[in-house]
Symmetry: C2
Subunit: 159 residues, 2 copies
């Protein structure tokens, strides 16, 4: 178990806020296969893994280098937030590269007249937010960042 593809795939999938079935449908594979891979009961072919990753989208290189570069990041820049939305609504997922997130935060931009249905932000021991305008000085665990429009933060509330 030198490199556990299953755990990494599960962490990536949950980070993007997708279910096994939703990921499978986008990738063109079956949900059972995603389940078996995540449990480590099969070793997928690189072709299958590539199809699955294309649903994020993510390349093989990005997938395998993922946690080495962004294990415990706190600040995520605007360009690093993938757009999950459709049509006139823009959803940008915060901390998408972070593994095993316990919650999801969305940066939402609505066209004039667009409608929001439910409250998507639920609290569960971790905190996150987005700077809509102006600048913010953020201090977490002794470190300080200056965030401007579009930047965001994410950290364990115990810090």
């Amino acid at each position: 178990m030198a490199e556990d593809v299953g755990k990494k795939l599960k962490a990536t999938r949950t980070a993007f806020g997708l279910s096994q079935r939703e990921l499978a449908k986008r990738a063109g594979v079956t949900n059972g296969m995603v389940s078996l891979i995540e449990q480590g009961r099969v070793s997928p072919s690189v072709g299958s893994l590539q199809k699955i990753l294309s649903a994020f989208p993510l390349t093989l290189a990005e997938f395998f280098t993922r946690d080495l570069s962004s294990q415990e990041e706190v600040v995520f820049r605007a360009a690093d937030q993938p757009d999950m939305g459709t049509g006139g609504i823009e959803f940008r997922l915060v901390a998408a590269t972070r593994r095993d997130r316990a919650m999801s935060i969305l940066n939402e931009v609505y066209e004039p007249g667009a409608d929001t249905g439910s409250d998507l932000l639920t609290h569960s021991g971790e905190e996150g937010g987005v700077i809509v305008a102006g600048e913010l000085e953020l201090t977490v665990a002794g470190k300080t960042w200056t965030l401007s429009k579009g930047d965001s933060y994410y950290f364990d509330s115990r810090l």
Copy 2:
């Protein structure tokens, strides 16, 4: 053919100066499998690919990020040259990260009394060499490097 694993594997294998059988033996797989993978006739499982790459040795992340970072490098530092030798003889392969090399260059260090059999350097339109002692100023295609002991160079002779 988004990411051709076969071509990449073949380029990597030849860059390390290994035959299909030699690679297969080190990796604990069959030579036929290496052949089929390199021809693109099968898509190996990540487990199998991982076993194969461990013979170089190379991680999955390093394998997939390989050509993005070192596509057309000219200078290769001493630390980047893998040791291909055994026993008292030290063989360090130059430009191992470069894809589809048409030749091989070896930096050879022999213990006192060791014996050399055949001439390993054959010319075929490309040039390479190693700095054994002192310093050298190298200019290729308008760029200049200063090489010291252990450093090496590799470039297309048309430049």
